[in-house]
Subunit: 371 residues, 5 copies
Amino acid sequence: MQTHFCSEYRSRTQPSDNAAQSSAADKSGLPAGTLIHIGTKHQSECKISVIQYNAETLIRHDITSISELQQLQNTELITWVNVDGLSNIGIIEGIGHELDIHPLVLEDILSTHQRPKLEEYDDFLYMVIKGISLDQKTNFCLQYEQISILLLTKYVITFKEKSDDTFDPIYSHLKNRNGRLRQYGSDYLAYVILDTIVDEYFVVEDSLDDVIDPLEDNILFNSSRDMLQTVQHIRRSLISMKRNISPLRELLATIQRIDTPLLQEKTLRYFGDVHDHVLRVTDSLESYRERISAMHDIYLSSISNKLNETMKILTIFASLFIPLTFIAGIYGMNFEYMPELKWRWAYPAIWVIFILISVGLLIFFKKKKWI
Amino acid sequence: MQTHFCSEYRSRTQPSDNAAQSSAADKSGLPAGTLIHIGTKHQSECKISVIQYNAETLIRHDITSISELQQLQNTELITWVNVDGLSNIGIIEGIGHELDIHPLVLEDILSTHQRPKLEEYDDFLYMVIKGISLDQKTNFCLQYEQISILLLTKYVITFKEKSDDTFDPIYSHLKNRNGRLRQYGSDYLAYVILDTIVDEYFVVEDSLDDVIDPLEDNILFNSSRDMLQTVQHIRRSLISMKRNISPLRELLATIQRIDTPLLQEKTLRYFGDVHDHVLRVTDSLESYRERISAMHDIYLSSISNKLNETMKILTIFASLFIPLTFIAGIYGMNFEYMPELKWRWAYPAIWVIFILISVGLLIFFKKKKWI
Amino acid sequence: MQTHFCSEYRSRTQPSDNAAQSSAADKSGLPAGTLIHIGTKHQSECKISVIQYNAETLIRHDITSISELQQLQNTELITWVNVDGLSNIGIIEGIGHELDIHPLVLEDILSTHQRPKLEEYDDFLYMVIKGISLDQKTNFCLQYEQISILLLTKYVITFKEKSDDTFDPIYSHLKNRNGRLRQYGSDYLAYVILDTIVDEYFVVEDSLDDVIDPLEDNILFNSSRDMLQTVQHIRRSLISMKRNISPLRELLATIQRIDTPLLQEKTLRYFGDVHDHVLRVTDSLESYRERISAMHDIYLSSISNKLNETMKILTIFASLFIPLTFIAGIYGMNFEYMPELKWRWAYPAIWVIFILISVGLLIFFKKKKWI
Amino acid sequence: MQTHFCSEYRSRTQPSDNAAQSSAADKSGLPAGTLIHIGTKHQSECKISVIQYNAETLIRHDITSISELQQLQNTELITWVNVDGLSNIGIIEGIGHELDIHPLVLEDILSTHQRPKLEEYDDFLYMVIKGISLDQKTNFCLQYEQISILLLTKYVITFKEKSDDTFDPIYSHLKNRNGRLRQYGSDYLAYVILDTIVDEYFVVEDSLDDVIDPLEDNILFNSSRDMLQTVQHIRRSLISMKRNISPLRELLATIQRIDTPLLQEKTLRYFGDVHDHVLRVTDSLESYRERISAMHDIYLSSISNKLNETMKILTIFASLFIPLTFIAGIYGMNFEYMPELKWRWAYPAIWVIFILISVGLLIFFKKKKWI
Amino acid sequence: MQTHFCSEYRSRTQPSDNAAQSSAADKSGLPAGTLIHIGTKHQSECKISVIQYNAETLIRHDITSISELQQLQNTELITWVNVDGLSNIGIIEGIGHELDIHPLVLEDILSTHQRPKLEEYDDFLYMVIKGISLDQKTNFCLQYEQISILLLTKYVITFKEKSDDTFDPIYSHLKNRNGRLRQYGSDYLAYVILDTIVDEYFVVEDSLDDVIDPLEDNILFNSSRDMLQTVQHIRRSLISMKRNISPLRELLATIQRIDTPLLQEKTLRYFGDVHDHVLRVTDSLESYRERISAMHDIYLSSISNKLNETMKILTIFASLFIPLTFIAGIYGMNFEYMPELKWRWAYPAIWVIFILISVGLLIFFKKKKWI
């Protein structure tokens, strides 16, 4: 009877008894500074893709070990390293060592329950942001993925929990030799990555519309329990989306304010554009939240209305026939001396009484606007 | 049975399966920087009207191509270009190229799901603002339209989604040779445009009053399902209005603070006046929201009250006649040895008992204040 | 059946089909800068009273035209011009011209839907504030009036929508030759005017107490529909009061901060005192709002409680007699072969059964704490 | 039936028809600057106690007139003047004149409806703070008292509405010759006074715990109307406490920030300590508010649950016996030609039918988990 | 019937009639500056452990008196003194005297109802923070413990209410000679202590998930009273957690901002990391709060739904059989002249009528979608 909404979704966002998952709490007994992967493990191996480009050149390498990465160092080109899957701690440690990344950052990359945040270090910026995708459109099933971005002068390193097609638009974008992406620096690449992730939010928002609009139209007329379940499911989705998206506003406000040679003046405007997008998404989430909350009120009123109607029908039937039944009962008594029983017109007379009482009560109910 | 409120309204503000509509989500796979029109397409062609004026002269051209626009350049006059309809991307690109507009701005003009915002560029200001109009007054049906304003030293360019009469008051205002509008610069024209759009909000607010006031008076006495539907509809309208209007407060606070040669000192005071108007509208929206929310509470209480009354009637009828029917039932039994049946005064006595029980119960209900 | 609360009140605060009223929306088609009176017209003529005073002298003139006002110019004395009624636009224009008032201010004076606000101009301060008075104390009927105050070095000009006794305490105060009012400058007069208006709020607050306190005591025991109506009415009054009073906090915080020669150091302390009063009023409004909202919860619980009790009575009666009636019904059947009917002690036995069942059920209901 | 909670409390915090009470509203017609006592008059005479001390000396005088006070001036000692009772305006005026207190402060001391606040004057600080005490612990009955504190270099003047034992701990504290209080200046005395008043809040908080904890445990199982009344009473108490305590946070934050020779650096830390206490109290009030609000939700659910159970019992009884009674009714009809009546096994058969129907319905109800 | 949730928990967080407990209120009569232990006394003796370390050395002493502590002074090593149990005031006074701690700090250490806070003194930092642990996982029973941290140049002193295993991870961490903890200063030790305490919050959060997730899935289908009790219990736990955790955000924001030689630049980053953790916890608490509140709405709707269904069944049964019973009653009357009784086909005819009425009503209920 109970429809299972997104059983997948549960195991990804909340700790369960899944063996392949370790929570922040599990780490509480370990000395700070030990690198372990906290969160659901999505895949057993890491995939590393390295893209190097400038206005003229574009090279892509799919490598599997950190040593290959070291051979690819090239100061002429902008290097984008994308790591899909966090299970191979060696690779993350290797990259950290290569680029002199603060150990706390490496810990945060591996712990996939981070809040979206921006941290400024001497020679790099560290961003954490949540990718959201729809698993099944029909049941509105959300999937979250933590994406870490390291921005250096000539490098952008991204870490994703699993390999999916989120970054495909960027790859095709890069192929366009005259695109801004090929002309600008690594900061513009970081912007394009952020923008691509935030654009996914709009896809989610659109399917929310597809779910909420018909719900809102129907809830007044067809208040079933399934509907209540859907409302509850959307409410939970909105709460988790808000939690994962709203810190982005602060992140993007900060990125426009900080004074760092890593970000060029002309790129800031683009980050401002992503900021606007995020504000639009959070405005929408707030609207949805209000609409869902209003829907609940409507639902309650609607049930009460129905109860009222049911009770009116019961009351009409009961109040109409119970007195009549009593009267019939009277003349069903077996007393020897009941003069009315002998009367010639008693039986027609009792029918007249029945009809008068019924009409009287129906007029009363009519006056009460029940019928 | 289900009244259709504003089916129009839906297709304009939310993505639907309408073929002529493309949402932000559709763009998520395209490289950033490609100009496409995002949102419902309201009309197939663009209408461009160019008005050039100073204190002495006033010329109006209705043109259809970007080349005609180029011939109209005139540094003596203030030029106001209004573009109705966004389907012809060539025109927007042409204007962008002509006036050296940042590509992000052109993208934003074409994407009609923007939040109201103000962006300051080196030689122009870019404002996005939402026009709100009433489609049908009876059903309180709102229409939103995105209006983009570019303010340059001698130019004001406005982009509207469709051609309507929103700007008519400005045209007639311009004809007044001694009006401030003809004396002041392009920044004053931008103010007049903003003011005209915000004045439309008051029209909407007034018809909200016309809907909410009778609703508030009736909800206590006449709590039908139609009323609930209207309340729900207004609630949704308020949520969407808030979302489209409230960012304007920030926009107008910013415009009074920024330091740009595009805005003259004496015009700032006028923008402050629009700011006050927007504050008034948002205050009203908040009041309406509180009143609608209070109305819902009243509605629920009112239904509960009615249920209570229904149940009292049922209880009175049932409690009164069920015991009497039982007594009648006793003497309807066919036992051979029932001494009462033979008694001479049994029948009148049973009537006395009936009456005593009824009176007793009625006194009990009276004491409970049910009758 | 429906009590009419404050029909007066409605027509003053909200646009209606009243012919003598023009709303902000009506103005939306007019060129900015045209002076027209927006709001309900309370009276057809303007009354102008001019009071000129210093420590030694106090002169009062009741004039009717702007030309008389011009003759009264006197730089030795502080001149307080009070205009009751806004229908004569000529007078407002005349004063504006005389004292060189910015056209936007004149527009705001005439538009009586302003938010309370403070505007600083080069040589004057402009304040808008709402006077609140009680029309009928029994029904708690509020009247709002917009009062505009212009403060110049030697002048205070006040504009009221209608003539009433709001300013009478100031007139009597002025007669006291040794009062601070006679010693201090025009800024102190502006303070006294503000203080007098804010003191009226306390009168309203006190009668709110007179309404809310008995309501709160009774709602648990006597939850009638009238009570619900009163609660709804007070809720609406609180919403409108909040809307009209709360911007005053900002106004008075600003007035203590601005640096202008119009306000003397020693007067600022007095404005701080009014600020405290306004904070007290808004604190109270917030408390009332919470109490009204709590009352609604209580009301709902109270109805539900009552319903519960009603249902218990119904259930007791029905559950008690329905089984008994069934048993009586059995022995009312006319089967030929029903051995019990012939038994000698069947009838007394059936009474024993009746009593046993009744007692059993009563014990059951007792255990459920229903009786 | 209606328990009277704190009738005392009402007359103290809200204006009533009590003759001995004058409200802020009563003053609205008087010229600003007239000293009158606003609020409930708690006692007819003033009691003045003067304590003078330094590290070596401690003298206490109980005086009754202002002239005695003038004789006690002594610049060697710190002088603490405590005035209990505000009815004797002469005394307050006298002290005001003696110490050159701003007239607005004297007005505020006499008006006992002040918000807690801090005002900085050239040579003194003025604080208003509310003392809260429990009148009856069983009914949780709060008493508010306005305490005004004037802090000068060598003087602390306190004004209380009535004489009670609030300051007794300070008196005994003063007797300790080696206590910090005797070593430090008048600012430390002011701190001790504030601390003593705030400590009283914890007493109130503790008895709130004593009331709320059992309530929370019982409301799920025993949702009577008395409980609802208690919940409502506590809610009101919390609203009034919040109103009287929360402005203290600002007061104490300000006192640590202001730069005045009246407060020594080393005393500021102590005011910070009181600040922490007030934050703790306001945190608690917020927690209580949330718990009370949650309790109301629980209460409503609990009533609905009960109603549901009542209805189940009614439905089981009615649905079980109504069909059976109908069948019995059929064979109670007196038609001449009813073949079943003659059948030999009809009566036992009908019993079989009765039992089958009952068992069927009971299984149905069992399946619905009603029994 | 009433399950006892965490009776332990009550006595720890709220004052009760427990003899071993003294509340803040008890202190209100004592002179400020007297050291007494306020709060539940968890154990009768104090346990002092002293750990001294640098990169090379690590010594641990378990001592019982303050004199032993004095002998352990060593400026070469970092000394961490941990005091478990606050009942021995002499020890706290001794340490205070030894290290010249401000008396207010000693008072705060002993009063275990503090809000988490940070205080900066000339030569030390004082932090109060609440440790949270789970007593029983099944009933979600929280235990709070106040932990005070004093950070000096070479010393860290921690005071805990009782001895438990909270700090065990730090001890094992210290044994790692190459760990950052051994290399860095006392500020890093303070960070590790804070981090260890905050990590415990995640354990609590995880078990909250374990309780809330199944609750959320079941509440729609199985709305029992036990569930309501659990919801209420979690709500209270969330309120108390929020109260104890949320001030930490401010504490950790402040610690990164203050300019003190006690904190090294490189350690600040680590405090920033703890700050992120606390933000994550408070975000989660907020999400839980919203989910619990949504659950309550669902619960109410669910009960109303059930009531509706119950009433439909009752109405169907009653409305179906009451009219039929009436008809049967008519022909059970004993009038002498009832022609129908004599008719040959009357009895079959009456059955036809019975069936027609039943079918008609069933169609009616079908149309209403009740069956």
